[in-house]
């Protein structure tokens, strides 16, 4: 059987008394007892399957497996099933599956045996989704990059600092719905989450669960999780 996965943000999320569900073996907030304003919606997507690889041969190796390889550094491409492959700087890649699709696992498996010039990178990020009309104000207070000047159709990957933490940011806005993804080292996750949540609160937003962040998310809600935190929260939630 698989061991429980725990989000880097788990105990921060637990304080917000969510209704938990389970995604890829990780308990994840489906919705929160208190619903926040909609100016900014902040969600934890750490549960998505994720892997990385780097090295001079990484790009070709992906291509050989029929995966889209962003043509230029710091660009990303979508994967079937709602996932994406992001090219970080030159020869490093981050793969993240949507709720469907299993590219990440495939790549992970494919690299169990050594491949020359390709090196697997274990990803254990805190993975956030942030959207809403006040997102750019949130960025303005936390990050020295003018995202409003980067057209979302260019599918740019930005490696930068946010409130003192190294982050990877991409713009996944569709039409007029402003939406960004943020990844950071999981050990900074709690700090980044708390900081963004505080500011989001001031701007009339807050944390949302997967059902809001991803309305069509087919996840088993309220599954009794092995995790005691989640137990208590499920009981306490309506």
């Amino acid at each position: 059987m698989n061991p429980t996965r725990l989000s880097p943000l788990h105990d921060r999320l637990a304080r917000l008394r969510p209704v938990w569900g389970e995604v890829n073996g990780m308990v994840t907030p489906i919705r929160f007892a208190v619903t926040a304003g909609s100016a900014i919606e902040l969600a934890d997507l750490s549960a998505l399957q994720r892997t990385g690889l780097k090295g001079p041969g990484a790009g070709d190796w992906l291509q050989a497996r029929g995966m889209p390889v962003p043509p230029r550094p710091n660009a990303w491409a979508p994967l079937d099933g709602g996932g994406l492959v992001a090219r970080l700087a030159r020869s490093e890649f981050l793969l993240e599956d949507g709720l469907q699709g299993n590219f990440a696992l495939a790549v992970h498996a494919g690299l169990r045996t050594a491949v020359s010039g390709v090196y697997p990178v274990l990803r254990q990020d805190a993975a956030l989704l942030v959207r809403g009309e006040a997102v750019h104000e949130l960025f303005a207070q936390t990050c020295n990059i003018d995202f409003s000047a980067i057209p979302s159709q260019e599918r740019t990957v930005t490696l930068t600092m946010m409130v003192g933490v190294a982050v990877t940011i991409i713009d996944t806005s569709l039409d007029d719905k402003t939406c960004y993804r943020i990844w950071c080292d999981g050990t900074y996750g709690a700090y980044l989450w708390d900081t963004l949540l505080e500011i989001a609160g001031e701007l009339g937003g807050g944390a949302v669960g997967l059902s809001a962040a991803w309305p069509d998310a087919p996840v088993a809600t309220d599954t009794p999780s092995t995790h005691d935190n989640s137990h208590s929260n499920i009981q306490e939630s309506p």
Binding site: P73, N74, L88, A89, R90, N144, L159, T160, M161, A166, V167, T168
Partner: protein
């Protein structure tokens, strides 16, 4: 805040970078005299002027070289090691 252009990530505020010090050619340890080696280890070309320096873009882990006027604090060009002029 000063802007520095990472050859891979483009212009960024200097707060995203770590300074790696002056680029120095290491003398051959086998042939260098003790005095020459100590000079390499400790002494620096500290005159103002344009210098070749190591800089590191922290969020992406990119090392690169910058040719910077250390008096005017103007960066003339930046490039990855081995890809310079």
């Amino acid at each position: 805040m000063k802007l520095l252009t990472c050859p891979v990530n483009g212009p960024r505020p200097v707060s995203e970078f770590a300074y790696g010090g002056e680029y120095r050619e290491m003398p051959d340890p086998a042939t260098a005299s003790d005095a020459q080696w100590a000079d390499y280890v400790f002494n620096r070309a500290s005159l103002p002027g344009v210098k070749k320096e190591w800089w590191y873009h922290v969020p992406s882990g990119t090392w690169f070289l910058a040719e910077r006027d250390v008096q005017a604090d103007v960066v003339h060009r930046t490039y990855l090691f081995g890809e310079g002029p």
